[in-house]
Structures are given as structure tokens and as C-alpha cells.
């Protein structure tokens, strides 16, 4: 594992392609094989702050912003947040922030993280009206601590209950008859994925790729066989694969068992953000965090309880090619 300074040195040339504004716009930045790979490895940054939660158990918003800055600076190699964010998002496009409020209050993407990302996006030059925070519905957004707003001059916050789903289904592999959220297909040019790390009753782990279940009308139809290959197939649908390009994963609070709902007795605070572009490498890293916590409290592995997240390996196979799950090919940077 390299230190942050070493990493910045080795990546100072900027392997991120997302910021390269060409005449062709976003389409030219969608080289799935090149985006997340540096020196043949996918980068994943895990940034931690043990003091993220105050004594009252509440998140310290200033520390969340600082943690985000540290994670993004490490990933991009730019200490200046504005410069760093310009490497990640195009300034003149609509940027969606896909949260996860499914688990309800207590185990949803934290509003403090959403606000921190919105603040930096605006400072980098994204107009407030071009930022769209979204999820399945108003209830999920409220679970995150967000208030619905459709005012186009400000940061917009609403769900698919407002914008609806496509009538024409999309498909890839087992993910057939998938009606996608219009927010994804029509409104956003690029999506920042803001999942929350959780154990999952069927899939084993829910994080980056599983958060895409929130972009389809009937996610329950993709639950068979531990969501495998449902999760991998869904992420291979072109519009999902191409627009959802960067993950800022909320691992500030998590459940290591009993998820995806809120089970306070299984709650823990990793106090971390996990960021990167390779959704498979991100999920592999997240899975290992859950396993380490389960081992720490004396619980069996997810394999041991019959729900290993097999979809991660499926997503990495040649038929899907969504990223890498081989630890030797993941450049994990912990700061």
C-alpha cells in the first residue's frame, strides 16, 4: 500500500479521463477499460476519520467535508478540491447524485455527505440547477435527511415517484424487462453513485453496484439466486454502465448483519468513505470490510451463512467486464 504522498507522485499525470473535455463530450470519456485503471490496477481509496462522529453520536459535518476532500485529493492527485473535482465531473452537464435511502432513517446515505459533495461541485463550477440528488422516491430521500425540491434554479432533490420510469424496457442477460428511471436516462449526463455500505440478506453485501437497483421500477424481479447475475447484468445495461461513473461510498455507518434494513443492534461505524471508478473493485473492497467486522465480532463469514456476494465475481467475468475483483489488481490506498 502506498502512502498518499507517494500515490500523488505516481499519478500526478492524472489517469482520470473524466475531466478531459473534448469536442465529443461525455461520450468520448466512456472508455470503460481506461477510466479506473492505473498501471494495470484499479484504484480504490478508503479514507477514514475516527473522530467523524461526535460524542453525541452525530456526524460532524465539517469533518465529513474534510474527509471527502482527503479522499478525492488522494484519488485524483490534486490537493485543491476545485482542481480535483474538475478532474471528475464535466462542469456544463447535469450531474446526478444517486443516494440510497432504502434502509430508512438510520442506515441511509448521510445528508452530510450529499451536502459536502454538492458544495464542492458548485465550487468547481457546476451550476446548482445542474445538480440533481435522486433516489427511488421522496420517502427514501427523506430517510437520508433530504428535502424534496423541484426548483430548477436550485439543487434539485426528487425521486422516480416524481420523474417516472421509461415505458420501453431495457435488457442485458437476466435483467430483462427493466424499466429504468427517467432521471437516469433523460435528465442526468453523469451520475455520482452515493451508496451506503450494508450487509444484505440476499446479495450478501450492498454497495456500489447494488445501488443501481434503485434506478429500476421493480428491483424485486432481480433478486433471484442472491441477486446473481442480476446485479452484474443490470450494471451492464449501457446507460447504467456509461452514466454511473464515479462512486463516493458512504461507509460512515454500516450494518454488518441483518441488512439491508436498519438493525441498530448490528450497526457499526467504520467512519470511512470509499471512492473510485471501478465498481467491482469498490464492491470487493466493501465486502472485505464487512467480513473483517463480522470476524471481529465472532460472526461467520457471508459464505458461512450461505450468502457470499457472488455477483462481484460475475461482474468481473469476461461476459460483463465491469471491473476487477482480483486483489492483486486493485490498488487500495488507505488514508
Amino acid at each position: 500500500m502506498k502512502s498518499r504522498r507517494e500515490f500523488i507522485k505516481t499519478t500526478a499525470t492524472g489517469a482520470l479521463l473524466l475531466g478531459s473535455q473534448s469536442k465529443l463530450g461525455l461520450a468520448s470519456m466512456l472508455d470503460q477499460n481506461a477510466q479506473h485503471v492505473a498501471n494495470g490496477k484499479s484504484r480504490v481509496v478508503v479514507a477514514r476519520d475516527a473522530a467523524l462522529h461526535g460524542q453525541d453520536g452525530q456526524l460532524d459535518e465539517k469533518r465529513v467535508l474534510a474527509l471527502l476532500d482527503r479522499a478525492i485529493a488522494t484519488y485524483t492527485g490534486h490537493d485543491n478540491p476545485v482542481t480535483a473535482w474538475k478532474q471528475i465531473v464535466p462542469m456544463d452537464k447535469v450531474i446526478g447524485l444517486k443516494t440510497n435511502g432504502l434502509g430508512g432513517k438510520g442506515i441511509s446515505t448521510h445528508a452530510a455527505l450529499v451536502m459536502a459533495v454538492c458544495e464542492r461541485l458548485q465550487q468547481a463550477g457546476v451550476k446548482p440547477g445542474n445538480i440533481l440528488v435522486w433516489d427511488r422516491n421522496a420517502r427514501d430521500l427523506q430517510a437520508c435527511g433530504l428535502t424534496v425540491s423541484t426548483d430548477s434554479s436550485r439543487i434539485r432533490v426528487y425521486g422516480s415517484d416524481v420523474a417516472g420510469f421509461e415505458d420501453q424496457p431495457a435488457a442485458f442477460g437476466s435483467a430483462v424487462n427493466v424499466k429504468l428511471a427517467k432521471i437516469l436516462t433523460r435528465e442526468c449526463d453523469m451520475v455520482l453513485n452515493l451508496p451506503i455500505l450494508k450487509d444484505h440478506e440476499m446479495a450478501g453485501v450492498t454497495f456500489s453496484m447494488k445501488n443501481m437497483y434503485g434506478v429500476v421500477q421493480r428491483p424485486n424481479e432481480l433478486h433471484a439466486a442472491g441477486c446473481n447475475p442480476g446485479i452484474a447484468d443490470l450494471n451492464c445495461i449501457p446507460v447504467v454502465r456509461q452514466k454511473v461513473r464515479f462512486t463516493i461510498g458512504d461507509a460512515m455507518t454500516s450494518v454488518y448483519d441483518g441488512g439491508p434494513g436498519f438493525h441498530p443492534e448490528r450497526l457499526w461505524q467504520p467512519n470511512a468513505l470509499i471512492v473510485g471508478e471501478d465498481r467491482v473493485a469498490l464492491d470487493h473492497t466493501a465486502w472485505q470490510m464487512i467480513e473483517r467486522k463480522r470476524a471481529e465480532v465472532g460472526m461467520p463469514t457471508l459464505e458461512g451463512v450461505g450468502r457470499p456476494p457472488r455477483y462481484i465475481a460475475t461482474a468481473a467475468d469476461p461476459a460483463h467486464g465491469l471491473g476487477v475483483n482480483d486483489p492483486k489488481r486493485i490498488h487500495l490506498i488507505e488514508v
Binding site: G57, E201, T206, P219, F262, P264, E265
Partner: protein
């Protein structure tokens, strides 16, 4: 003519009897959600939402399957607040039979503290789960305070009394 009147009267009587039976049955469906102030300190802060088995994923997608496989018929939920501070959610799962409720309760609660509620119950620092007949009740608080366990227990007893 006379026979026709008798037939009409008999039909009307049958319809009324069916209606009375139906209304009577409906009356026997308990409403387990205590109204505001019915349990000291607790206010009901949202409408009760009910999800039949086939739509349960809309409420607890990912968790729904374990309830469905245990025979859930429907799940109702409402939010509560204690002394205008402590927020909690009350879920009442109506299972097909008591065995279904037992199956869910016995899943993953081995480290919980047993409490005398319904047919069986357990408590954690921020949640209470119990079963009574075909009902499985779960109350979860979103904050852990010294008074949380006692407050949850009081609400649970209020629910139990209505089942």
C-alpha cells in the same frame, strides 16, 4: 306474485346476513397501532401504511423475501415519537400463522435479552421484537438513550394489548 315477494325478501335477508358477517369479520381485525397519547409519552406521527405480501418489497426491498418465505400476509407500519424527541418505527407483520412469526423471531436474535411480551419477545438497546399468534411486531428507535429501552417496552405493551 306472492312467491316472488318471498323470494325477494329471502334474497334481501341473505344479502344483509352476508353484510353483517363481513362487517363483523372486519371488526375482528385488530388495529394494533396505538393512537397518540394512548401510551404515555408516545405520539403517532404518521399514517399507517399497509403492504400486502406481493408489494412488501416496496417497503423493505431486500428484506421482504425472508418475510414472504415465512408466509407474511401483510405488513403495516407507522412512525412514532416519544416525548417529542425519540423517533421510532413500529412494524406489524401479519403472518399466515404463528409458526411464521416464530420463524422470523428466531432468526438472528440469539444474543438478545428475552422480555415478557406476547408469546415470546426479545429486546436490544434500540429495538423490541415480539410475536403474538400470527403477529410479529418490531419497534426500532433511531437513537440510543438511557430511557430508550423502557420507552420501547411501554409502546410494545400498548401494541400487545391491542392484538
Amino acid at each position: 306474485m306472492f312467491q316472488s315477494k318471498i323470494m325477494s325478501l329471502a334474497t334481501a335477508t341473505l344479502v344483509m346476513a352476508a353484510a353483517v358477517t363481513f362487517i363483523g369479520c372486519k371488526k375482528h381485525q385488530p388495529d394494533p397501532f396505538p393512537a397518540s397519547a394512548a401510551v404515555a409519552g408516545w405520539d403517532k406521527t404518521s399514517e399507517t401504511r399497509t403492504f400486502p405480501s406481493k408489494d412488501l418489497w416496496q417497503y423493505i426491498d431486500g428484506d421482504a423475501e425472508q418475510y414472504v418465505s415465512a408466509g407474511v400476509v401483510s405488513t403495516s407500519t407507522s412512525d412514532y415519537k416519544f416525548q417529542n424527541q425519540l423517533e421510532a418505527t413500529l412494524d406489524v407483520h401479519t403472518m399466515g400463522d404463528a409458526a411464521g412469526a416464530r420463524k422470523i423471531l428466531e432468526t438472528g436474535t440469539s444474543d438478545a435479552k428475552p422480555v415478557q411480551l406476547g408469546d415470546a419477545g426479545v429486546q436490544y438497546a434500540q429495538s423490541v421484537i415480539f410475536r403474538k399468534g400470527p403477529y410479529l411486531v418490531r419497534i426500532v428507535a433511531y437513537e440510543s438513550t438511557p430511557g430508550t429501552p423502557q420507552a420501547l417496552l411501554a409502546l410494545a405493551h400498548g401494541v400487545e394489548a391491542k392484538l
